[in-house]
Amino acid sequence: MTAVETISPTSSGAGILGGVSEWLMTTSHRRIGRLLVALSVFWMLIVVLVGTLLSVERISSTSDLVDPTSTTQLFSFFRVGLIFGVMAPMTLGLALAIVPMQIGSQVLAFARAALFGVYLWIFGMVIVGVAYIGNGGPGGGDPQMVDLFLVGMALVIAGLIVVSASIATTVLTSRRAGMTLIDAPIFVWSSLITSISLILTLPVMAGALIYVAVDHSYTRATFGATDGVNAWIGWALTSPQIFLLAISTLGVLAQIVGTMTRGKQPLRGGLFVGIGLMSVALVGTVTQSFYALQLDGELSDIAKSLVPFLFYNALPILGVLIVLGLCLLAMKNEKAKPSAAFVPAFFGVAMVLTGMLGNALLRINNLKLSNTVFEEAVLVYVGYGVILSSLGAIAYFGPRIWGRKMPTMPVIGLGLLGTLGIVLAALPYYIAGFTDQPASRTTGSLGDNSQIWNSVAALGQAIFLLVIVAFVGLVVKSSRDGEIANDEIFETAQANV
């Protein structure tokens, strides 16, 4: 083990400029990963704040907290920001920082390309943000800003593909001698699956985006002008695409459990299968289909819709259940040592699973849940579940990067509070969905008890926002003044768990 980071209390003047320059031009996988994670946390705060505002606005149909003309754009921003500003970069950022260490590689494959991808993502997200401010998101009122939005999204997609390619290449080519893919730590496997899934699905979105952008710039006739943006790329902003970004939550949980049980994971191959099963969502994504279940009609008609419904909706759920089951089985080991990071990681996966179960209900046509807030609740469960899991990943992997421990009780407390926040933010919308409260609207028919559900949801969003702010503070504090980590945390860091 080597001292690889020196935390110096003072820096010289030239050192500051040099330090910034080093960060901007770095080829260190740790720094590139941390840059992406830090920026996704920045977007996380903005997105959850917007989610809180929208929930508060929904409490009363006469509320004027948000300009009524902006609500559609804010709902769209919440969705785009959560998926492309938070979930994707957070997942990939963690992989960039951790994966090379776990496979015993000193460097990231094509590190400069990965850094370039991060910059593409940064500029793309800034452009997307500016476009939204100028009323230019999908369905926006300013056509030039909508053009800008499309350009921004193209840059974001390109950046994420480049970063994903760098991660996948690292895993496939730079493992230490003798380490096969099945020997690789489970987080590495989940990162590989996520990266390849993004490499295969994001170009499909890019293809639609090119048509929409050219049409919007020239004719605005073929692809439905500004309203067509959502119609043609909307599939990438909902399930099953969001499930692909949740694959790494399984890797994080299994990794933490593996460390807790010192690598004594029964049926380890099952973890690989479970994570692989979740990637079945990929097929649904690239075909841009939801595969709904229709319970009316003849038995043969029901069976005809049941088979694809089960294949695309139940198999990913089965994958999550397999991983959860195996993790709980491993925990029965008497020598299992508790870890604070387990709490947010476990409940993050539980939230993702709840979202996936909700998605399965959403796809049963007879329940008529489409276009209700139920759909938004699925996104909140999955998206916030990924965030919670990421907090667990930071708590687990963080000390291995900056060499200082994070305090146990605050991490457990924030994990539990975060879970409470997610349940309060999303569960009321599951219920309100059955009372036909419409999605992406703050006015209109909100149902009889909608005020209660919306108040609870707003409280949940506020709690979750608070949890993120508190966790960021905890990370900053512990990385500066935390107890210096002893050798113990490194014991199993590169174990085959």
Partner: protein, 204 residues
């Protein structure tokens, strides 16, 4: 007071195994998905185009390709043959590189470069001969979108060829993996172009 925190070291240096080849494979897959999605949307629009009577009234046609648009088939068929030649030349570069034959490697890569330029030139010629505007119809808008994206992929291939060729000029003929990756990219471009050629230029 100690201010040095220890963190997990990255481990010993590992031998990189065929990084360029793997990255090219992933990029080729992404390119195929990109063009595949564009072709799927193209087919969807074509299938949903309204029906109209043919000019002699003998049959019903899909109102997809405007009557006044003629696709220059000689140029497009030549493009298809040229890209196959490009693959053969890329394979020749691999063959020569494995025998440490710097001259023939460079020559083969040079021919790849020329054929790639010829492809792009032919695409521009197709645009000029067709003389249509992006705004003219849904067809023209989609035609420019899909063919321009394909051309952009070829420009990337051109850049890749230039990179490999300069390395070859510098006598780095031991870059077998890079030359192999270069060929893989052109193979994948050929498959993608063949699909586009069939759907857009042959079936129209």
């Amino acid at each position: 007071m100690s201010t040095t925190a220890t963190a997990l070291n990255s481990g010993p240096k590992t031998a990189m195994r065929r990084q360029a080849l793997v990255l090219t494979g992933l990029f080729s897959a992404a390119s195929a998905m990109l063009m595949g999605s564009m072709l799927a949307i193209w087919l969807q629009f074509r299938a949903n185009a309204p029906l109209r009577e043919s000019s002699d009234g003998s049959k019903m046609l899909r109102d997809w390709l405007p009557e006044n648009i003629k696709i220059p088939e000689v140029a497009t068929n030549t493009m298809m043959m040229t890209i196959v030649v490009t693959c053969i030349m890329a394979q020749w570069a691999i063959y020569s590189s494995r025998r440490s034959d710097s001259n023939h490697t460079s020559l083969a890569l040079g021919v790849v470069l020329l054929t790639a330029i010829a492809m792009i030139n032919a695409q521009i010629a197709v645009y000029m001969q067709m003389n249509i505007g992006v705004r003219d119809s849904s067809y023209t808008m989609m035609f420019y979108s899909i063919t321009a994206t394909m051309t952009a992929l070829m420009v990337i291939g051109l850049g890749f060829t230039l990179l490999v060729m300069f390395r070859s000029f510098a006598s780095r003929v031991s870059d077998h993996d890079l030359i192999l990756a270069h060929a893989v990219y052109w193979y994948s471009l050929t498959v993608i172009f063949a699909a586009m050629w069939l759907v857009v230029y042959v079936q129209k």
